[in-house]
Symmetry: C2
Subunit: 333 residues, 2 copies
DNA sequence: ATGAAAGCGCTAACAT
DNA sequence: ATGTTAGCGCTTTCAT
């Protein structure tokens, strides 16, 4: 790594002062056209790039955003990350990424490290266990997907989305509908379950059924769905004719178990997922799901941080979901 | 954002000089136990964290790695990214992420930006079109997944992996085997195709068949596989009894098309993928594939960068693939 | 073992 | 419009 070209080198070669070079670089208006051209010329010749550390030290900020996400192996998070980085790049920002691995207690540490690095803000997708966030450095923070008291959050309307999914299943004629919920300590899981219950509770009560009997909790991933489905689709007792899974990954896991058990979807079992990750359109049969507007969420969170507006809870944004009807649902036999 | 606590604040409160505080922070040995304790105490009280920009300016480096990847929506890349970040974090490094969106010409720009930010090195997964890399800043660079002249690269042995896959299909008794290759300008695609041909060329020659007749190129993603399979599985002429797809995503796309065409897998069509992404174990039927040792690749690339060893082409590492036998292959009828 | 002080490269305030 | 300069927070040499 050769010694970097500095602003002094440029100044010397262009026969101007460092101040002028700085002004040119930062587009300050009061520089004559002639000098500006000369400086730009030298900058190009020398391949000068301002040292980000020096700028950061001087300005106290450095056009960088932090993103803390539980796990990129979850395609929903990976897609979110991709959208965030894209938007940030469009606006001239770079992205520092850190995964929390679903360890709630590591999140504070990660955020503190980002603060140390002078990020202008951080997008946090909290792990399930996170109830609140230690943010001693007062970093600008936007919470995505899950609500955390006292912070602005940007998310889909999980509850309304789940309601739509349940209503859709009911409209198809299903009555025995199971809900494959997420981890019990998860805000998202609770919201989606609540949406499901908004629709189902009255019906269950009418039929004199215990709501608990049609709910099962499992991790949001493929494996969680696959395992939970084994219980749901057991041969004892009346099997549900439809299941609403709280994530597409879970739903795909359900599809997997149904396939293993030779339960054809959608003929003998309808399945609805939640998220609309890319793979959902490729599995066989294609997954019907409540789609989150991922790009809108990512862009909103990013813009909030970059915009510099005050980030109180009033800055929160909730986006509606939309049902994407594909091939995993049909009226019960 | 309150004004940061600086090293001076700590020094004043602890009644020592800034030099001593710095020595304590950096674990320099020549500090008496008593002062060390006092300083540590004050650091804890004040919640002091050294300013990364100042350290970076002074040291010329800042415990940060850059990662440039085409697209996180590709689960293979997302998993790779997750592994890299994990390893980097273990070693006390942070990760700046940038996606190139498969634009070869944007890679140089992204790397230059990372250089400006004083990363200690960058892991680059080049886009298909990249033939060589402009690296005017002399950044430490490790190329992952594909070979680029003049740079150390870390990757699976694509060719040998493809050979294994083809051999496996042959050993099952298949003769009409199609290769669903990647984009023609892709190094990885060419390597895997070459591995396939190592096995198939002699057989094809013997049968007097044109090798081109059993090869089709498509993007590495789900959609590419799905579309290519439509041609491969057309009803005119003898259909292949097996398909070797150059990525799991493609393979899953093939499964999708086969399902649509009512061609049962593996009975009437065997499918082998390449990569072993997480979803491959969940699709129905489960995908048989040539698995890349993802964690090993990610760790190796990360360690190479952090280790500070010279990064010539001799630093390259090739890891063997392993066949993962699941449910998409059977002898031909 | 410790303190004092010189910068790292840049921006912005001040002077001209 | 442009040059000069202080100083952002830190590490590290040089004295002591």
């Amino acid at each position: 790594m050769k010694p970097r070209t500095t602003i002094r080198d440029v100044a010397r070669k262009a026969g101007v002062s460092v101040g002028t070079v700085s002004r040119v670089v930062n587009g300050h208006p009061s520089v004559t056209e002639a000098k500006k051209r000369a400086v730009l010329q030298v900058i190009a010749e020398l391949g000068f790039r301002p040292d980000a550390a020096a700028q950061s030290l001087r300005r106290g900020t450095n056009r960088t955003l932090g993103v803390v996400i539980p796990d990129l192996r979850n395609p929903f998070f990976a897609e979110l990350m991709q959208h965030i980085e894209l938007r940030a790049k469009e606006r001239g920002y770079s992205v520092l990424f850190a995964s929390s691995d679903e360890q709630a207690d590591s999140e504070a540490e990660l955020i503190a490290n980002l603060a140390r690095r002078k990020v202008e803000g951080v997008v946090l997708v909290p792990s399930n266990r996170a109830e609140r966030i230690a943010n001693p450095d007062g970093v600008r923070l936007v919470v995505v997907d899950r609500r955390i008291a006292g912070h602005p959050f940007v998310a889909a309307d999980h509850r309304a989305g789940a309601r739509m999914a349940a209503e859709y299943l009911v409209s198809l004629g299903h009555r025995r509908i199971a809900c494959l919920s997420g981890p019990e300590n998860s805000f998202v899981a609770r919201e989606r379950l609540a949406g499901f219950m908004d629709v189902m509770a009255p019906r269950l009560a009418e039929a004199g059924l215990d709501p608990a009997s049609c709910i099962i909790s499992a991790p949001f991933d493929y494996e969680g769905g696959r395992e939970a489905a084994k219980a749901l689709l057991a041969d004892d007792g009346p099997r549900p004719t439809a299941v609403f899974a709280c994530s597409d990954q879970q739903a795909i896991g359900v599809l997997r178990t149904a396939f293993d058990r030779r339960i054809t979807v959608p003929d003998r079992l309808s399945v609805v997922g939640f998220d609309d990750i890319l793979i959902s359109d490729l599995v066989a049969p294609r997954l019907t799901t409540a789609a989150q507007p991922l790009a809108a969420i990512a862009n909103c969170a990013t813009d909030l941080l970059i915009g510099g507006e005050p980030l109180d809870a009033a800055a929160s944004h909730i986006f509606p979901c939309a049902m994407v009807l594909r091939e995993t649902c049909a009226p019960p036999l």
